[in-house]
C-alpha cells in the first residue's frame, strides 16, 4: 500500500536529490547534451566570490527573519491562548496573509512601497516614500518585514497551541507562590514552550531557505546582488546563465545547509526528539 507514494517520492524526490549531485559534475546548458566535466563546476562555484556572498545573504535573511518573528510570535501566541471569543476572530483574520501567494504579496508590497506612487507619496509621508527596494539595506529590511507580515500570524498560532498545552496547575502553583505575570512568563511559559520554539524555529529556518518566489518578484536579488540568496543564485546560474553544472553545485550546498540546520535543531531538542522520531 505504501508503493505508489514511495514510487512517486523516489521518482521526483530521491532521484532528483541524487541527480543534483551527479549533475554538479557535468556540463549542461539546459537544452543540449550533458557532458561529464569532473570537478570543473565545483572549481567554478567554490572560487566564485558570489558563493560566500550568497551564503552570507541567505544566513542574514534566516537570522533576521527568525529574530524579527520569534519574540513577537511568542508574545501574540501567549495572548491568543486565552479563550475569549474575540481572540478566535483575531485568529481567523490572522490567517489571511497565509492564503495569498508569495507572488501576490510581493506585487502588493512593491506597489505599496513605490517611492513615487505608493503609500508614502500618496499620504505625503516622506519617511514612507524612500526608495525602499533601491538601497541594499532597505531592500533587505523590506524582505524581512514582508516575511514577518506573512508568517508571524502562522507562528503565533503554533505558539497559541503550545501555550494551551501547558498544565494550568503550574500557573496555579506559581500564583500561590506569589509569582507575578512576568515571573510566570519567564519561569513557566517560556521553558514549557521549549519544543514549540524548536518546531517553530525549524519551520522558520528551513523555510527561509525557500524564500525564492518572494525575493524573485520583490527584488530579483537586487539592488545589485544585495538580496541574492542561495536559491536565487541557483536559479540565475542555471536558468538565466544556462550553467546547470555550477547551479547544481549551489543546489547541493543548499541541501547540505538545510540538512545540517535540521539536524542541529533536532540536537537542540534533546533526547525527547528521538522518541518523537520513533513515534513518527
Amino acid at each position: 500500500m505504501a508503493l505508489p507514494a514511495t514510487l512517486m517520492f523516489v521518482g521526483f524526490g530521491v532521484i532528483p536529490l541524487l541527480g543534483v549531485l551527479v549533475l554538479s559534475f557535468t556540463r549542461w546548458d539546459g537544452i543540449g547534451q550533458i557532458y561529464p566535466a569532473g570537478f570543473d563546476s565545483w572549481g567554478a562555484v567554490l572560487t566564485d566570490p558570489g558563493l560566500p556572498h550568497a551564503l552570507w545573504v541567505t544566513f542574514l535573511v534566516m537570522f533576521l527573519s527568525w529574530i524579527a518573528q520569534t519574540p513577537l510570535s511568542i508574545l501574540i501566541g501567549t495572548f491568543l491562548a486565552g479563550r475569549q471569543r474575540y481572540r478566535e476572530v483575531l485568529a481567523v483574520l490572522y490567517f489571511i496573509p497565509l492564503l495569498l501567494s508569495a507572488t501576490a504579496i510581493a506585487i502588493t508590497f512593491k506597489a505599496l512601497l513605490d517611492p513615487n506612487f505608493g503609500l508614502g507619496a500618496g499620504m505625503h509621508l516622506p519617511f514612507l516614500a524612500q526608495d525602499w527596494l533601491g538601497r541594499p539595506n532597505l531592500a533587505m529590511g523590506v524582505i524581512i518585514f514582508v516575511v514577518s507580515w506573512q508568517f508571524i500570524p502562522f507562528h503565533s498560532l503554533i505558539y497559541q497551541g503550545g501555550v494551551r498545552q501547558i498544565p494550568v496547575t503550574m500557573y496555579e502553583a506559581a500564583l500561590i507562590d506569589g509569582a507575578g505575570r512576568f515571573r510566570q512568563f519567564f519561569s513557566i511559559t517560556l521553558p514549557q514552550l521549549k519544543y514549540t520554539i524548536i518546531t517553530s524555529s525549524t519551520l522558520m529556518i528551513v523555510g527561509s531557505l525557500t524564500f525564492f518566489d518572494l525575493i524573485f518578484v520583490l527584488t530579483a536579488g537586487g539592488p545589485g546582488d544585495a538580496t541574492r540568496v542561495l536559491a536565487l543564485d541557483m536559479y540565475k546560474r542555471g536558468f538565466q546563465a544556462n550553467l546547470m553544472g555550477p547551479a547544481s553545485g549551489i543546489a547541493v550546498i543548499l541541501v547540505l545547509v538545510g540538512l545540517a540546520l535540521a539536524l542541529l535543531l533536532r540536537r537542540l531538542g534533546g533526547s525527547s526528539t528521538d522518541s518523537q522520531m520513533d513515534g513518527a
Partner: protein, 301 residues
C-alpha cells in the same frame, strides 16, 4: 516544510486533556490580570496585517487616475468594476482553469497515496516500511526546490515539458512527506482494539482502511488537503521552470507576467490579486475550523 521535531503524535487522550486544560484556563486567565503587553501587540499586528489587505481591495476598485490622485487609504467615491472586467476579459479564466487542473490533479492523488502509505506504515511492520518512513521524514528537512534542476531534466526526458502534467507530478511528490507525517500520526491515534475487533469480525485489511481509518482521520485529511492544495495553488517555481507557453500559465505566474505587462496599471494588477485569492478565501471560510485546529494540533508540541 515541517520537521521531524513536529512529529510527536497528538494522541486522542492528549487532545481531551488539552481541552480540559483549556476550559480551566478560562477561569484562571479570567481572574488573573489581563495580558496587556500581548494584547497590545496582537491588536497592533492585526492592524499591520489588515492595512495592506484593505489597501488592495479599495485600490482594485479605483480608476487609474484616481489611483494617482486620491489618498491611498480612502476608498473611491465612484468605485469602478473596470479593472475586474479588464482582468476577466484577458486570459485570466484560462489561467484559473490551469491552476484548478494542476491543483486538483495533484492534490487528490497525493493525499490518496499518502493516506495509503500512512496506513501501511502504521499498521505494518518490518524494516522496509521503517526505511520508507525515514526517507519521507528526510524529505521534510530538505528544501525540495534544490532538486528543481534534475526535476526539469526528468520532465524533459518524459516529454512533459510545458504541460500541466509537468506541474502535477513533482507537486504530488513534494506533498507526500508532510502528508504522511500528519496522517500517520492520526491513524496511530485510532485505538488498536478497534482494528482488531473489526478483523475478528472477518473484515479485510482494506475494509478496516475504508470503514475505520478513513472516517476517523477525516479532519487530518481535510487539513492536509487544504494545506498542500494552498501550496500548489500558490506555487511559482514549478510553473516558472517547467512551462513556457502563455496558455499553460497558472495564476501566480500569470500574475507575475501581468504585473510586467501592466506595471503602470496598479489597480488592474491588484484586481487580479483579489481574483486569484478569492477561491482560496472561500475555501478557507468553509474549512477554517478544521484547518486551524488541524494545524495547531500538528505543529504545536
Amino acid at each position: 516544510m515541517a520537521t521531524v521535531t513536529s512529529s510527536r503524535p497528538t494522541g486522542a487522550t492528549g487532545r481531551t486533556r488539552r481541552d480540559k486544560a483549556g476550559d480551566r484556563q478560562t477561569g484562571l486567565r479570567g481572574t488573573s490580570r489581563p495580558n496587556w503587553l500581548g494584547g497590545a501587540f496582537a491588536w497592533l499586528w492585526l492592524l499591520v496585517v489588515l492595512v495592506p489587505i484593505y489597501w488592495i481591495v479599495i485600490t482594485s476598485f479605483k480608476t487609474q487616475s484616481m489611483y494617482f490622485l486620491s489618498n491611498p487609504m480612502v476608498p473611491s467615491t465612484e468605485p469602478t468594476l473596470a479593472n475586474y472586467l479588464l482582468v476577466v476579459q484577458s486570459d485570466f479564466p484560462l489561467y484559473f482553469l490551469n491552476s484548478m487542473i494542476a491543483t486538483l490533479g495533484a492534490i487528490v492523488p497525493a493525499v490518496l497515496i499518502a493516506f495509503l502509505a500512512s496506513f501501511a506504515i502504521v499498521r505494518g511492520r518490518g524494516w522496509v516500511l521503517k526505511g520508507i518512513n525515514s526517507v519521507f521524514l528526510l524529505g521534510l528537512a530538505i528544501p525540495l526546490q534544490a532538486t528543481i534542476i534534475p526535476v526539469y531534466l526528468i520532465i524533459i526526458k518524459l516529454g512533459l515539458y510545458d504541460s500541466l502534467a509537468a506541474l502535477i507530478l513533482p507537486s504530488i511528490a513534494f506533498a507526500i512527506p508532510l502528508s504522511v507525517l500528519v496522517l500517520s500520526n492520526f491513524i496511530r491515534d485510532v485505538p488498536k482494539e478497534l482494528f482488531e475487533s473489526m478483523r475478528a469480525d472477518g473484515a479485510s485489511e482494506w475494509q478496516t482502511l475504508w470503514h475505520l481509518a478513513f472516517p476517523l482521520t477525516r479532519p487530518a485529511l481535510v487539513t492536509v488537503t487544504i494545506y498542500n492544495g494552498l501550496g500548489i495553488w500558490n506555487g511559482f517555481l514549478l510553473p516558472l521552470i517547467l512551462t513556457q507557453s502563455p496558455d499553460k500559465r497558472t495564476l501566480p505566474l500569470a500574475l507575475w507576467s501581468f504585473q510586467g505587462q501592466y506595471s503602470v496599471n496598479v489597480p488592474a494588477v491588484l484586481a487580479s490579486v483579489v481574483l486569484t485569492t478569492l477561491p482560496i478565501l472561500i475555501l478557507y471560510v468553509i474549512g477554517r475550523r478544521q484547518l486551524l485546529s488541524g494545524l495547531t494540533a500538528g505543529f504545536s508540541k
